[in-house]
Amino acid sequence: MTPSEDPSTDEEHIAKTETFSLAEAERIAEALVFASAEPVSETLLAERLPSGLDIPALMEGLSAFYAGRGVNLIRTGDRWAFRTAADLSFVIRKDDTEARKLSRAALEVLAIIAYHQPVTRAEIEEIRGVQTSKGTLDVLMEAGWVRFRGRRRTPGRPVTLGTTPDFLDHFGLEELRDLPGLEELKGAGLLSGRIPPNFHIPLPGAVDDLQDDEDPITQMDLEELGLLTPSGEEEE
């Protein structure tokens, strides 16, 4: 880093020190992450490692090193963790390690929160067309996957919900962008509250034809049903 008169030897020296300290930094990073059951943040790594290191690059390198092994170094959010390789689950899985079983409703709510966050409870209800039963959110929050994020700047300032870093860790996601199918859903306009302009439903051609068990609706029927006011007020 300091300018020198003899570039060649100095560079060599620097290179050597760098290799040494890089290997050492790798060992430390490895030990820190390996020792922990929970993912370790890059912030914590930066605190413990020699300063001036490019932590993400270091970790990417380590991650590549472990990629083919039985234990992988994976990133989740801005944290790193060692996890057994997914393809080995059959050897390691014990019967008593069954992950928390979620109800259908809870799973659906979790997916909506994950894909639509930040999302309010009212919006979840709009999507599902039904009230979220008490306790469903509670279950998700207790599991540590869902959290209150903040408040929407709209009248009533409803609280918004989102997922947690533990959610990413549990489902093996590096980041929210890795949610399966996220891009397609976005592209199809299915993550918005509004019907996308390109959303077509072929209108039932068969609509006009009455079914066998149908009689045509008459003006009389309509009046009877209260759909038309008896007088002729269509001209408004």
């Binding site: 059951a37 370790v40 996890r83 799973l107 659906e108 709009e126 067309g129 549990h170 949610l179 199809a188």
Partner: protein, 279 residues
């Protein structure tokens, strides 16, 4: 009883049969309705049984099937939750709009086709979320497929705080405490009453999609059990007045004892739009 649903209730029969896993020790008919996560779920199920791409469903046929379902449920005296009835009222309205040829163009409010599109969109969106949920839950999950260090040697908690507590811990402690202290001697009788807030919720949910003058009450009453009609009418009316005051609803009545028409107000639309920003 079984005879009652024999004909004209094919979709129902399918429902009973396709959901054996829902059966427990309770009477089958009740559970099957309860097995659905609300009216949209039921509609989605019906749509699937049309065995076509969701994008190709006949909304009209779907509405028919749903109304048939509600009809059959009524015949065998299954009590449907208000949500289902509101959806029935909405679909009946939709059906009438689809069947009546468009009268005067240029009227405000969505056409039957637009309403049908809204419904199709909502079904598609719900189905997409279902599929996403399945994909999510089938990922390699920690503690099931993928495992953490079994014998951790340290816990790298944020060094800033020597104490650990999450917002959830905080809030549940608070809620528990307040609940405990609130003298809960209030016995809430299980009366069959539509509360003001129930009615408000239902109206808002429906009116979100209706910006045309609609005699909703009419459709609603059609589908309510007689015993519920008075309370529903009263609550819905009171709630609608409140919504009018807030600018979320407009009301029109042509004369005494005439049907009351309502439609979404300007504020409802803007509030909904504001609420729609994802990611």
């Amino acid at each position: 009883m079984a005879g009652n649903i024999a004909k004209g209730a094919i979709p129902m029969d399918q429902l009973w049969q396709e959901a054996p896993e829902r059966a427990t020790d309770e009477p089958a008919l009740v559970i099957d309705v309860g097995g659905f996560e609300g009216p949209l779920d039921l509609l989605l199920h019906l749509a699937r049984s049309q065995k076509v791409d969701l994008a190709k469903i006949s909304v009209l046929a779907l509405a028919e099937q749903y109304l048939q379902f509600v009809e059959s449920a009524r015949r065998v005296r299954i009590e449907l939750a208000a949500d289902y009835l509101v959806m029935a009222a909405w679909l009946a309205y939709l059906k009438s709009k689809l069947l009546i040829p468009q009268q005067s163009k240029g009227q405000d409010g969505p056409s039957g086709e637009e309403m049908a599109a809204t419904l199709a969109f909502r079904l598609k969106r719900l189905e997409a979320m279902r599929e996403s949920a399945t994909r999510l839950v089938n990922r390699n999950r920690l503690g099931r497929d993928v495992f953490a260090r079994g014998a951790p040697e340290h816990i790298p908690h944020r060094v800033q705080s020597a104490f650990d507590a999450s917002l959830y811990d905080l809030l549940s402690a608070y809620a528990n405490l307040r609940q405990r202290q609130a003298v809960t001697q209030v016995t809430i009788e299980k009366r069959k009453v539509w509360s003001l807030s129930d009615a408000r919720d239902l109206l808002t949910r429906m009116l979100g999609e209706i910006s045309d003058w609609t005699a909703l009450q009419h459709y609603l009453l059609e589908y309510l059990p007689p015993a519920d009609r008075v309370t529903a009418t009263a609550s819905a009316f009171a709630a609608s007045l409140e919504l009018v005051r807030e600018g979320k609803l407009e009301i029109r009545q042509d004369g005494a004892f005439q049907p009351i028409y309502m439609r979404g107000g300007s504020k409802l639309a803007s509030a909904r739009e504001a609420a729609v920003d994802t990611f």
